[in-house]
Structure formats: structure tokens, C-alpha cells
Symmetry: C2
Subunit: 215 residues, 2 copies
DNA sequence: GGAACCGCGTACCGTACGGTACGGTACTGG
DNA sequence: CCAGTACCGTACCGTACGGTACGCGGTTCC
């Protein structure tokens, strides 16, 4: 047998190489510009690579899409989780920060397009992009928000039984119908100021529902 | 010229005939069963009609989809708007009724599938199903809820400045992340009991935010 | 009965696109 | 200098599917 039969980066599983990242960025750009009639030909042309290479690296069209979603997810995860002392003002700031970040993400062109792709795929089964998007979007932020909520409860600033329920209420107050409207093609452009306003309103409402003045 | 050149129901514009309704129901059934790889061939077979007839009636595939969305929308609109006397309990009941209805709709297989189609279409421009779905879903219920909210304010039970904002908060509390999760393929099946519980919680929270005890 | 029409079934066409094959070029190690 | 590898560009194949054409049975109107 040949020495070390699988040395190169066939069918990208872990972190994509720089060149592969460039390809995935091309996919994202194409997706944002052209809507979803994304053809392998177009990707190859845009990324200046051959279709054969695409298939070698990503297996098939679904694999390319999956890798793209993963790639985008990997760059969103930035965000520090400072374990600072928790007073009421800090809690509020943390929640506000989450709300702004979340709105920024879901209102972004990239997120909208990727969610459209994932939703379309969820219709016809096979390789669930939906699951990936869900895991990296909603679940990921949930994993970071819920500890904050629980810390707030421990410190006596919040009152709730189930942190999941509280979190979902928070999401509802922040997101409202924004995401679905954007997905359906509603114009509705949010500028940064509007996002901050929305986020602040949502946090106020959340604290009105779940906050308590003092332990 | 032939006597009365356009007597029959070419390219369905207004209400579809009984036969046409049967075709549209076939489309819905197919959509629910088969996901979104809906082919004209499959529709013709399922509805026992010829493709030629489909094209004659609906123009093209988009036309068929549009007619289907319209048809489904037309049957959801049921629901009385009793202009009963408005006391606090009635207001709560009305809101609860809206919440349950809304959750029932968005959690339904048909709604999920139709929204998926519309969202996929919103990506590639052309005939905006998204707009239609939006108009018949969110906007339609908004048109019915907002008067109730305003009546509640007039009667002194609610306090808010902008009824649109209040309504969207209501929607957020009721729907939370349910719709997007379903669209992305999350299992998450809600039975009637859970829906009632969710709706009640949402209404309670809404009244906690916007209600006031007495004028 | 026959003409006109509707609509079903089926065969057919064109094309877009996923996937593959192959020649040509550049780089690397021996 | 040569083999091997990686990868680009392009030509190619197969097929699924949107859309059209046509023949035939049933119904309506004279």
C-alpha cells in the first residue's frame, strides 16, 4: 500500500484549508448576490477552481452547502463570556448585548440567505442543514444566555422555574416576527439604531416579566 | 371572431371552480406528503388531470403555487369577530383565542410546508409568494388583533402607544421561536394541550406588560 | 346524428444542472 | 530529468423536469 494512504485533505471534515475557505467564501458571496440558484458551475467560476476539485473536496452539492453553513457558523461564534460579577446593571448589559448580537445576526443578508437554504433543504429530507443552522444559531446562543439567566436567578435578580422557557420568551421578545418576515422577503431594513432600540425594549420587557427588585 | 372569446375560466383569477379546488387540494396533499419536490407531473397524476389542463388553468408552475397559497389562505380566514362588550375577561378571552388559533396555524403541517415554499421562492425573485403568505398570515391576523387591542385601550384595560408595536410583541410572546424551528425541521410537535398552555402563558405575559388594572 | 368543445392520458422536446472525464500546467521530491 | 500529485479549464454525459403537441372519449347544443 502507498505510504499513509490518506494524507491530504479529502472531503473536508475538520477545518477547511485556506484555499477551501476561499471557495466557501465564494459560495457565500454568490448566495448573497444571486439568491439561491447556486450552481456548481457558478461556484467553480467564481472561486476559480474546477468542478472536479469541488467534488473532490466536498463530495457533492449538499456537502458544499453543509461546509458553507459550518464555515459561516464558525466565524459567528466570536463573543466573550466575561464571568464578571453580576449586579443588576451588569445583568441588563449582558442581556442587551445578547439581544443586539442576535438581531444583528438574524437581520444580516448572510443569515437570511443561509436560513432560506436550510429551510428549503428541510423540506426535501437529506443531510439536514436545518439541524446545523439550528445548532449553531438558536441553540448556541441559548447555551450562552441560559447560564447568564441562571446566574441572575441565583443572585436574586430574576425569578423563573425553567431557564429554557425563560430563554425562549427572551428570544420571542427580541426577535418577534422579524426573522420570518425577512425570510419571506419583507423589505424591513433595520439600521443599527433601530436594532439597539428594539433590543433595549425587549430587555426591558423581559426584566419586567422575570425580574425582581431585590432578593 | 369566435362567439365570446373568453367565456371559460382561463388562468384562474378569482375563485377557483370546484374542479380547480380539487387540483389545489391535490397540490397541498402532495406538498405535505412529499416535501417540496413537487413536479407538475406528480400533480397531474395525483389530481387525475392532464398537464395541459394545469397549464391552461394556472399558466405555469408559479401560477399553480400562487393559486395554492391563495386557496389555502382563503380557508384559514374563518373566525368570527364578535363585537361583544369588552370587559377584562372578554379581552383576555379574545387574545387567548387569537393566540391558540395562531399557534394552531403555524404549527400545522400545511402552514410549515407552504411557508417553506414561499421562503424558497423569496430567495430567487419572481412572483412573490412570500408577500402573499405574509399578507394572508401575519398581516391578516394583525388586522384582526389590533382593533381588539385598541378597543382594550379605549376601555382602559391596556396601555400602549403604538398598536403595531404592541401587536408584534404579542406575536413574539405567542410564537417565540416555534415557527423558525419548525421550518428548519425541528421535530417539536405541539399537541393541543401544549398549545393552550403556551397561549395562556403568552397572554398572561402580554397583559403583564401592557395591561393596567383599571382606568 | 353530428359539430364543437372540454379535458384526460401520453408521448415528446429543450434545457439546465449535477456529476464525471480528460488534457494541460505548475510544483515537489528523488 | 522524470514520476507523481494537485488542480485548473473545458468538454461531456445523463437525467429530471417545465412546458407543448396530439389523439381519443365524454358531454353539450343544434
Amino acid at each position: 500500500m502507498t505510504p499513509s494512504s490518506a494524507p491530504s485533505d479529502e472531503t473536508v471534515h475538520d477545518a477547511p484549508s485556506a484555499r477551501q475557505q476561499a471557495v466557501l467564501d465564494a459560495v457565500l458571496a454568490l448566495l448573497v448576490e444571486e439568491g439561491d440558484q447556486l450552481t456548481m458551475d457558478a461556484v467553480a467560476r467564481r472561486a476559480s477552481c474546477s468542478k472536479e476539485t469541488l467534488y473532490k473536496w466536498f463530495g457533492d452539492r449538499d456537502g458544499l452547502l453543509t461546509a458553507t453553513v459550518r464555515w459561516q457558523a464558525s466565524r459567528v461564534h466570536a463573543g466573550r463570556d466575561a464571568k464578571s460579577a453580576l449586579d443588576a446593571a451588569t445583568l441588563r448589559d449582558r442581556l442587551l448585548d445578547f439581544a443586539v448580537t442576535w438581531l444583528d445576526v438574524i437581520a444580516g443578508r448572510t443569515s437570511v440567505v443561509l436560513n432560506r437554504i436550510a429551510i428549503a433543504h428541510a423540506g426535501s429530507r437529506k443531510s439536514n442543514l436545518g439541524g446545523i443552522v439550528l445548532a449553531n444559531g438558536r441553540l448556541a446562543i441559548g447555551g450562552r444566555v441560559k447560564p447568564v439567566l441562571e446566574a441572575g436567578r441565583t443572585a436574586g435578580f430574576l425569578a423563573f422555574e425553567d431557564s429554557e422557557t425563560a430563554f425562549r420568551t427572551f428570544l420571542g421578545l427580541v426577535g418577534r416576527d422579524i426573522q420570518i418576515r425577512l425570510l419571506l422577503g419583507d423589505a424591513l431594513d433595520l439600521d443599527a439604531a433601530e436594532i439597539r432600540r428594539d433590543a433595549a425594549r425587549a430587555v426591558d420587557q423581559f426584566l419586567a416579566l422575570y425580574g425582581q427588585a431585590r432578593p
